[in-house]
Amino acid sequence: MKIPFLDKLFTTSELLSNATPDRKFVSDNDSSEISVENLNLYIKGNHILKNLNVQIPDKKITCIIGPSGCGKSTLLKTFNRLIDSVEGLNVDGKIMLHGKNILSENEDLTHHRRKVGLVSQRPCPLPMSIYDNVAYGCRIHGIKNRKNLDKIVEHYLKAAGLWEEVKDRLNTPAVRLSIGQQQRLCLARSLAVEPQIILADEATSALDPISSKTIEELFVNLKRDYSIVMVTHTLRQARRIADYVVFMYLGEIVEAGEASQVFENPQNELTKKYLEGAFS
């Protein structure tokens, strides 16, 4: 996987596959489309996600919109199986990725989560230095060589637009960064383990306008190489950057389609009302 908008120093997949020969990577032209089939999710008997069917396109920005409590975060957490830690969980249906059902029992969780990065609402740096935050994921996946790590850290801090601001203080604690910088650090950290899909749950809602603009622009650049699925409450943001939109309401997908089509010409009354701001 490459990031064309940056001067290409190297391809990290080479580094990664050298270091971890047991990890097989899906080649670049293999599509990372996610296909959700009859997904039902219950928490302690409550029907949270109701028979969802949707295709999330590859290398596009997909925005999930909908009122609070409709299940957006839950859906996102199901994509990288963070939802597994919830008590009283019951899921049926399928989520197909690369021809495999990621919900199946024998899915290698750590491997899967690595392919699906998550950027959360509030940035959560790990209790370590800026450098170690980015290197952490690579280290746990077997890259120990300091030179390789140096390259990876620089590469992804550049990809997240943070390098210039932190290159002289890589060894200072990550918590000393501003919130906006922390969020970009979290993005760099996610990118460093070479995901194919990036999930972002209201990733800009805790940020100031300029920082969120920066993140938005990063996403637009990143979609050449990654599929991006983001939850947002800001319809304007969705209008700005979404290629594909999924509108959810009370655990159901009401409407999904090309952004231009959903925004300009919504098929469903509810979608229309939501877009007009009749409820939120």
Binding site: N80, V116, L118, M128, G137, I140, V175, C186, S190
Partner: protein
Amino acid sequence: MKHFEEQMMRFLMFVATLIVFGFVFSIVYAILKQGWGSMSWDMITKLPGGGFYIGKEGGFLNAIVGSLYIVGASTILGLIISIPVVFFLNVYLKSQSKTAYIARLAYDVLFGIPSIVYGAFGFTIMIYFGLRTSVLGGIIVITLLIIPIFIRSMDEVARNFPRDILDATYSLGATRWETIAVVLRQIAPGIATATLLSIGRAIGDAAAVLFTSGYSDSIPTSLSQPAATLPLAVFFQLSSPIKEVQNRAYAAALVLTIIVLILSILGRLISSKFSKNKL
């Protein structure tokens, strides 16, 4: 007017701080003044000789070693028992659960119980089982004494733990153990502080060991033998009518103070090294 009030408040705060400093200084001064004269290499490297308690030769190495044995073992035992409790309270129980509420109330009560009561309790149990004063008895009672301190301070750490860290590491493909390693980085300063507080309380407590570990002029070679401790070395020698022996009590107090001081500094160093990166 406003300005005057502020000056006044400042002055009062300054005086209060001064009083605290004054206490620390006068305690150290009193101990040094009375204890320094009796302080010698022999005091901390030799066992009490015959007639030590009437002012003849020897030292109180027995008490130093006894204290370190008991405190070391209790700290380890205390950690081993408290960590699962804290895990249970914070990971398995919901914060609003009744069990958690009752458990927290229980350790708050335990926290407030004076150490002489722990000592008496330990003594009763030992009599019941027909045990004599021993290192083991001291270790058990001191462990009981510091468990509430451990649990209380670590529970605080756990309750303030940012749970997002778990999601963040799992999302990177970390295994459970790799995640625990990150969690430890976050809570290490808290554990260091908790340990320090507990050791400080454990090493200085006389009442809890009085009936349980007893006193002995030799270094114990098994858990069932009694052992001397520094606080009791202070206590017994201070109650002697002989001036020289009284001064040795202050020498023992000095050693105790120095050990606590070293531990405090060590604890601070460790905790600031770890908490640099803490969220």
